[in-house]
Amino acid sequence: MPNYANPDVLVSTEWVAGHLHDPKVRIVESNEDRALYTQGHIPGAVEIDWMVDLQDQNWRDYIDKAAFEKLCIERGISNDSTVVFYGDKNNWWACYAFWVFKLYGHGDCRIMDGGRKRWDLDGRGWSSDRVNPARGHYTATEQDGSIRALRDEVLKHQKAGKQLLDVRSPEEYRGERTHMPDYPNEGAVRGGHIPGAVNVPWPMNCKEDGTFKSARDLEKLYVRELRMKRRSPTIAYCRIGERSSLTWFVLKYLLGFGNVKNYDGSWLEWGNCVRVPIAKGGEPGGAAGPSATTTSG
């Protein structure tokens, strides 16, 4: 049975239950629905919210280095902490928070496999107690551009015909929807996908209980069936960058792809951009896309 490329990065609910009082370990919950944490969380876990805590509230970007340091200090996270992320929705937001922590250079990040769902299925209890951890000591690095793709880079990547993954639903990929079935607020003025992108909807990474598929199944999907190359630069995107951070995690940590970036601007940016190529329908489409006409002004 082949193992994950980085097996240590996934921990089981049992491991977490055994480390609830470990001062080196900080458990972090990140959810789509914030009130879930309030209702009940893993005892001792702190909450980090993707929208309120991790995003700058004025401009469209993540919080800056100083704000990230402050967040960690307040949540009791230090540079040498083992930070274990978990959450609802198959760990979408947990992976997203994991990715932002890597963006700022945090060393030891883990994902609790299966998230809230698996914790529940395993019959482990929730706590609604308030958690007030002792302050941490934190110095972040500058943002690590090697895991984040911005629009211009995606455009170059696309034009060069490099590996692109669209992890949205097939309806979104084909351009039949400009938003996810239940998320009309996150729409774009154009539907379709980035030409050349292959559609691998994120649920293909997960099992029914919320845990990740085996190394063998993931390898079969990405490497054998889709013929993706581990050494080729790869960019993943979705609608707002959360589902693609899950796929980013799978490619980078579970399958050992050497150069994977998450395009967090994703379709909410691309589908609203002026003069970027878009393909419609079920096929990836040509890498070149429609050639931009030369105009001035």
């Binding site: 789509e32 914030r34 009130a35 309030t38 209702q39 929208m51 609802d88 308030r130 239940d182």
Partner: protein, 146 residues
């Protein structure tokens, strides 16, 4: 008996002075207080298309009018306590009151409760859509029974 307007003001007042953690706790209290569907509505859920399609999660709403009075029955998936709490607040504000008064639920109720900042913009817009859904539903029922 207090009016819808007064109840809304009272709920806004309850949330006003709380910090974000307390606001979420109060929202969860409301969510926990939303009664489960009766057998009648369970049956109707299977037969009728009551799912709110604008919503991020499984939300079923029956904005209704009985003898001129508003009644909001709802079911919200347990994995979405924020939506559930907000729907429970709407039900508490209008149930038993003259249906025409449902129109005075402010569209920006969430902002006025101070929850918009706690939840963030994308989530707030989804909840705003629920206010419109309930108001339109009650208004349509009122018009139909007039």
């Amino acid at each position: 008996m207090t009016s819808v307007q007064e109840r809304i003001e009272a709920i806004i007042g309850e949330f006003a002075d709380l910090d974000s953690r307390e606001k979420l706790e109060l929202l969860v209290d409301f969510a926990n207080g939303l009664p489960p569907l009766s057998a009648e509505y369970e049956a109707r859920k299977a037969a009728e298309d009551r799912r709110v399609h604008e919503c991020q999660t499984a939300v079923f709403l029956w904005p209704d009018v009985e003898s001129g009075r508003a009644r909001l029955v709802a079911e919200v998936a347990p994995e979405a306590p924020t939506v559930k709490g907000f729907v429970a607040i709407l039900a508490e504000a209008i149930n038993g009151h003259p249906a025409v008064d449902a129109a005075c639920i402010p569209d920006d109720l969430l902002e006025r409760m101070g929850l918009a900042d706690v939840l963030g913009m994308l989530r707030s817009r989804g909840l705003r859509a629920i206010v419109g859904h309930v108001k339109r539903g009650i208004a349509a029922k009122t018009a139909a029974s007039a």
